[in-house]
Amino acid sequence: MNLNRRTKMIVFVGVIFAVLAAVYLAGLFISDDFIAADFSQKGLKPSWEHPFGTDMLGRDMLARTMKGLSVSIIVGTVASTVSAVIALIVGVAAASGVSWLDHFVNWMIDLVMGIPHTVLLILISFACGKGLKGVLIGVAITHWTGLARIIRSEVLQIRSQQYIEVSRKLGHSSRWITVHHILPHMVPQFLIGLILMFPHAIMHESSLTFLGFGLPPEQPAIGIILSESMQYLSAGMWWLAFFPGLMLVIIVLLFDRLGENLKKIMDPYSAHE
């Protein structure tokens, strides 16, 4: 039964992963011709030909949404990977036993967490020159704090284990212990933290772009699509906001499920539930 459930979980994770990969690839391979303006098709309601309708420039909203999600997934991947790596380095460093470093890292975490997230994002993204680069940097260097805290406490806990003490008495250096005993223990935390950071990163990319501090208007991004649709809502064109918004929510939830399920499989504490 246990194994059965575990297998089911793995299949589930595989399916989610496949869906996300499919969305990403679909967006990647849709030719730009599909989102070229075609004024003969402007403002159409959802139909079989255009399942998500078209916007006021006659661009197919399904194609735009897929491309937008693709961009979101790239931003999410890069930003959360960078963030997770920062978190790992910082977390391990903080727990290395050097007290001033620990204090400094904790102070940094408090500082970053103390500033309202969106404000910090806007500031960083603006200072780094907006556009894709600005968004990536902004999202990447503001999301590591939570995971860094978890990793720090985890490392501290492991360091106090007896076998670490034994290893040290056997003459292994601190570096050797970190690499051979501590880092392997961090893999589940790291991976799960990474994937659960995804939805955050994507949402923040979208909201930054929505507010006009993110990606440029030609970039097919969900934030752009949503902010554009605002001006047409009262003209009755609900589909411009509804489908892209719904898709974004679905993608975010899928990532979330993926993370939660992976956690159940990999995390030693919940793997046997």
Binding site: L233, A235, V252, D256
Partner: protein
């Protein structure tokens, strides 16, 4: 997990929230107005009152810092532009200009009172111009050397150089009273003292302001005695207010104007608020501006390419497909103005455009639908201000047509204002100019103004012939005499700034300003609007009437 989900939903629902949020705020605005109305005598004549759905009222009602340069019902000017787009005397009774064009003498009326009861004298006029020159915010008064009140009804302007368009500068400046003017002037309702047909009786900043007819006004008493102007910055809010019947007239846009509202119709006001493309006229020789921005474009420096873009694009098509039909074709920066040369009008002629391109050696040799010459494709990036969806639509329509009609590959790109300045000297961009003074033509085409960061002449257009015409126009004694020279600068039969001539701009459309108007409300004869949709509308409030 829950939080994340919530966050996701929040983004999805942002739209819905905004709408409810906004209509909420409009409610508070209107209920104030309604209370106001209820407070008034219950039997008041509705036919003498109008409620307007307006955009932001601005920070100040002080003409010396630029308020009301497109006309306002609160102040009177020496001269004004009427519904026929002609200048007529307002405070002035008559004026003369000296032979050398440097001394302008105005006789003004002696029966004008400010709304605080004090008489308006020549000294107030002099004071207004001095103050405005000192503040140097919006009005360009650098050519004004002095302004003196000779007696109570005579005022004399001395200019440092002849400037025939000075009369339009005068028409833009409302006169303020010297006796009560302070730094606080125009910032509160009781600090707004003018002599126009209306006075400001109440101003709740960001919510509404109320105008009432000025009984002391020297002209005819307006039929609309009271105007409640609601500040509704979001166009959705104005639409909802119009649908609910809360306003009698509301500003709207090409996006929403197609919405049917019972009991209301859409009125269009012509404008010189044009949209076209600036086309750099000089080749890229590696030169840069003082600030280090690249100058010149090797494709658009060819006049044939510029003319092809002017002739090969169907303006009507842009209007129907990109602007829902709410615009007019544009052929110059001053269509319909008295100084406009009608010869600027061109017909769409794709064959001619193609012939021009081929003459310059642009041929599609590899059959991909795009022309090339010496291995270089006929292509450029067309910039527009990111976020302006109308400009984006115009740009997209132009790009589509250019590709279809002429094998011209245009990539549309939204660019922030800062980045635009860095690139506009070497790349085409969608621009708009709208002004009711021929001074704009001078700024756009005179070589002394080429390549400045003020957006007038980023295409580095210079021509001795044009300079000569523009100088001749500026040196004219009367504005009527100058018309001929402005027109010659546009097209003199051989060359000019128009699209028939050197075509530094490809002009495409003049935006029309759109309003939902309650049936039965006559908003008079609107002069051709300059830039801006709000204040030009109510400049002639005194001419509005309700049909009985």
């Amino acid at each position: 997990m829950k939080n994340r989900r919530k966050a996701a939903l929040v983004l999805l629902c942002a739209a819905a929230l905004t709408i409810t949020g906004c209509s909420g705020s409009s409610d508070s605005g209107t209920s104030l107005a309604q209370k106001e109305e209820a407070g008034k005598s219950a039997g008041s004549e509705a036919a003498s009152e109008v409620t307007i759905g307006f955009t932001s009222e601005g920070d100040s009602f002080d003409p010396c810092t630029g308020f009301g340069y497109t006309g306002s019902p609160l102040y009177s000017n020496l001269v004004k532009v009427n519904g026929e787009n002609q200048l007529e005397n307002d405070l002035a009774v008559s004026y003369t200009v000296s032979e050398d064009g440097l001394v302008w003498t105005f006789k003004i009326r002696d029966d004008v009172k400010f709304t605080n009861g004090e008489p308006l004298k020549a000294s107030d006029v002099a004071f207004t111009f001095h103050t405005t020159k000192e503040k140097a915010t919006y009005m360009d008064l650098t050519m004004l050397e002095s302004c003196t009140a000779v007696d109570d009804t005579t005022v004399e302007f001395k200019l440092s150089k002849p400037c025939v368009t000075f009369i339009y500068t005068i028409a833009q400046l409302g006169i303020v009273p010297e006796s009560v003017y302070s730094d606080q002037f125009g910032l509160e309702a009781d600090q707004v003292v003018g002599s126009g047909p209306y006075k400001l009786v109440q101003w709740d900043k960001g919510q509404q302001f109320i105008l009432e007819a000025n009984e002391e006004y020297y002209g005819e008493q307006p039929q609309i005695e009271r105007a409640i102007v609601l500040i509704q910055e979001e166009e959705d809010v104005r639409l909802v207010a119009a649908q609910a019947g809360e306003v009698d007239i509301a500003l709207t846009s090409a996006t929403l104007a197609a919405t049917e509202i019972e009991g209301m119709h859409v009125e269009e006001a012509e404008s010189v608020d044009n949209r076209g493309i600036t086309l750099p006229t000089v080749p890229d020789t590696g030169k840069v501006t003082e600030d280090g921005y690249k100058i010149g474009n090797n494709i658009t420096c060819d006049v044939n390419v510029r003319k092809a873009l002017s002739y090969g694009i169907d303006r009507e098509k842009i209007i129907t497909e990109a602007l829902n039909g709410y615009a007019a074709p544009a052929y110059s920066e001053c269509d319909g103005m008295p100084w406009w040369n009608e010869a600027c009008v061109i017909e769409t002629d794709i064959d001619y455009a193609v012939a021009l391109l081929e003459e310059s050696g642009w041929i599609d040799t590899d059959g991909d639908g795009i022309r090339e010459k010496n291995g270089e494709e006929l292509a450029f990036h067309l910039m527009y201000f990111a976020g302006d969806s109308m400009r984006q639509a115009v740009a997209m329509s132009v790009a589509n047509q250019a590709k279809e009609n002429m094998g011209f590959a245009i990539t549309v790109e939204g660019v922030s204002a800062d980045d635009t300045v860095k690139r506009m000297f070497s790349e085409p961009m969608i621009m708009g100019w709208g002004s009711d003074s021929p001074m704009t033509s001078y700024m756009l085409y005179h070589s002394s103004n080429a390549g400045k960061t003020d957006f007038y002449n980023p295409e580095f257009y210079t021509s001795e012939k044009t300079d000569a015409y523009l100088d001749a126009a500026m040196n004219s004694i009367s504005i009527e005499d100058s018309y001929e020279w402005w027109q010659k600068a546009q097209w003199d039969g051989e060359t000019g700034t128009s699209m028939k001539g050197e075509a530094p701009w490809a002009f495409y459309v003049n935006m029309t300003h759109l309003y939902f108007v309650k049936d039965g409300l006559d908003i008079g004869k609107q002069r051709i609007h300059a830039h801006g949709q709000a204040w030009p509308l109510i400049a002639n409030l005194a001419e509005w009437t309700w049909e009985a």
